[in-house]
């Protein structure tokens, strides 16, 4: 049996003490223990940012690529070897800013991957600029008069684009978050888990205390209809005094791999290629 300590990597963790990223890391480890797959069959893909360093702190396969580009890498790795459980760990800047176009199209494509967005509403690694999800009015060195842009409503956007699994987690709610991650992995297709993650260094507004007062769980009493798009959009829009966490929308549909018939064949990576015979094709050119 896999235990949490088996997932410990030797890499020194380079996050600030008290950072919300630790909660996400622990929740992810817990989810992996429960998942019961071997680390060698799990692939974590990330871009660049504090959040994107996470794969180094856990003993699974890791591809740590470029800022904003985790989704195309993860999508294709899954296509190449569908036996891998593929997760993406990314930041709000990484996923919704630099990688915004990939986000839109990954949702449309619906590959069987699980995307965990560490949403600290700030650019951590580059020292505190606003991110696409920063609350309006938030003051930074780069936005001295406060952010004037409308925040990007990623959960609503994902629902509207047709994502089949849209959830919000909170890094301090470890058990709840690990449950969300497990459900996301089990969901066949693109799963988005946007995680509220306090950045104790650069985001002095959306702090642990701020969230503790506001966060509530939607799925606990079983009354919340998670397959109702209109209700989900309404729920996803809630932000301020009360912030819902949980599975906001879920609808099973065919994944990209299913749609292109990949499950009917051997994984691409297992295809023997040494003797690919194209003589049949050549006849068409004679």
């Amino acid at each position: 049996m896999l235990e949490a300590k088996d997932l410990k990597s030797n890499d020194e963790i380079a996050w600030c003490p008290g950072c919300g990223n630790f909660g996400i890391l622990n929740a992810l480890k817990q989810a992996m223990v429960q998942l019961g797959r071997e680390p060698k069959d799990i692939l974590l893909v990330s871009g660049i940012g504090q959040a994107a360093k996470l794969p180094h702190y856990i003993k699974c396969n890791c591809f740590n690529g470029l800022h904003g580009r985790a989704l195309p890498v993860a999508t294709a790795a899954k296509l190449a070897n569908r036996q891998l459980t593929v997760l993406v760990t990314t930041g709000d800047g990484d996923c919704y800013g630099e990688g915004g176009n990939h986000f839109i199209h990954a949702v449309r494509r619906n590959p069987d991957i699980t995307v965990i967005v560490h949403d600290n509403q700030i650019y951590g690694l580059t020292k505190g600029q606003a991110s696409p999800t920063t609350d309006p009015g938030f003051v930074t060195k780069f936005q001295p008069s406060g952010v004037v842009l409308e925040p990007l409503h990623s959960l609503q956007m994902a629902i509207v684009l047709g994502a089949g699994f849209v959830a919000r987690g909170y890094s301090t709610e470890k058990d709840h978050l690990s449950w969300l991650i497990l459900e996301g992995i089990k969901h066949r297709g693109f799963s988005l888990i946007d995680v509220l993650q306090p950045c104790v260094t650069f985001n002095r507004k959306n702090t642990h205390e701020w969230y503790a007062e506001r966060v509530y769980k939607v799925n606990d009493d079983g009354s919340y209809p998670s397959g109702d798009k209109a209700a989900a959009l309404h729920k996803a829009a809630e932000w301020g005094d009360r912030i819902p966490i949980g599975i906001l929308y879920q609808m099973q549909k065919k994944s990209y791999e299913e749609n292109i018939g990949l499950y009917d064949r051997i994984p691409l990576v297992e295809e023997p290629i040494e003797n690919t015979d194209i003589s049949g094709i050549l006849k068409e050119f004679i």
Binding site: K40, L43, V73, T75, A76, A77, A80, H102, H105, I266
Partner: protein, 569 residues
Amino acid sequence: MAHERTIKIAGEAGQGMQTIGLALCKIFKDAGYYLYANQDYMSRIRGGNNVFQLRIADKPVYAPRKNADITIALDRLSVDCHKDSVSPDGVIILDRDRFAVTEENILFRHIPMYAMAKEIGGSELFVNSLACGVLTGMTGIEYHGVREVLKRTFAGKKEEIVEKNLQAAEAGYIFAKTHFKQNHFTIKSVNAKESLLMNGNEAIALGAIAAGCKFYSAYPMTPSTSIMNVMAHYAKDFNIVVEQAEDEIAAINMVIGASFAGVRSMTGTSGGGFALMTEGLSLAGMTETPIVVVDAQRPAPATGLPTRTEQGDLDFLLHAGHGDFVRAIFSPGTIEEAFYGTIKAFDLSEKFQIPVLIMTDQHLADSYVNIDIFDLKRIKIQRHIISKEDSGLVKDYKRYQFTESGVSPRALPSWINEVFYADSDEHTEEGHITESSHVRTMMVEKRFYKKAAGLSKETENPKTFNIQGADCVLIGFGSTYGVLKEVCELSANRSVGHIHLPQVWPFPVAEVTGLLKNAKKTIVVENNAGAQLSKLIRRETGIKVDTSLLQYDGKPFNLDYLLEQIEKE
């Protein structure tokens, strides 16, 4: 009897010229001729002036001529566009009634194409089949061959439509036989042996399939798009996934992801798309992920001339991406080089775990030549990865282990029992992020110097022709191969040699230096304004070539123009 003829079909986009041009290629090929065909088309779907040009001969030919012997004009504009490029005894076939041409001109031969097409098929759409009949009638092809090819061309269409096309072709054929001077354009056929007819992009796609490419991802961009189409056409038969990415950035990152997971992967684009891919190219260099990228060049900067040709991306490909990393760049000059070169590109990319670029251009991409059937026995695929069976035995795996060659053993995730890390940040042998100067230095030496040393031993040698004692030596890369070869063969008054570079990077320094050292006069011929190859030769060998012959009007060099220029030099 003439040894070669050039035929042109000109008309608007949307008149089905490509279909009929290709049918003509097949007809001539089946009848035993050698042929070369190229297309000149505008960046629009309807209207404009597009040309399909064919050169048929009794020996192999590789390049366009300046003038056509027979031009068949499917619209009025084509008459004006092509009047000035008719050979001395050539003609223009046109429909005087339809185009309302009253002007007398000794070049003009009238055929009421549109009225005939309408009468036979009930629609003017059959005019291109009729044109096909006219051209074959004039050049002395047996009608039977025409019929057979057209039947194949229109196979899949309704019986009635096929029949009408055949009737239109036959009417054109008979018209030509009875109205135009017999035998004037007939050329002798040599019964060329069984051959393949394909263009450069098809050869690249087939090379990729033969090399075991299982993932192709791209964003459409002329003139690379047809590679994607061919890959998609055969995807089911070979279990290949072909993905239309949301942009070129996604395309190259997908290719990297698939390759990381263990699958041979390729992408293709043109200059503007390649510009977007440079970030990913660096990622492949840093993470040591093998990928193959095709740049089908078109004239630029920016979006340039979307459907025309140029060799202006050499400098860019040599330097694309930030930081020091190793790459190989192939520059195929023939359909064969495109095919075998692509296979070798996959091999080198896996052997050295590097990105390999294939630089082609619209001219090679869209030109058809009949060539010897590929020798599939020549293809040896080596994976350079730890096999699934051996993977079980791997212990203490380090993705970036330091080795003599700079190449670390490559395992695949989930095949080995351990996990591993790949990283775009500078990393340790284990793949973890590091800022250690010592490790950094060692990694650069591994990725850059050591791999470069191994790679340079595997560069394709320059191809040479007649360089011993030649009065002048022509040097080129990529698609100028054919025209330079023919210039050498046809230069009457002087002895002209040719050096062709099928791979421009790593630059074959010793070979080129040796070849150029004793050359009397050296002329680099290239399709760009910056004399990019001349400068590369100078940079790498210290040799300054005597002359650069440059062309940057969007067209390939034609044989006659180049012959004249070389005579003058």
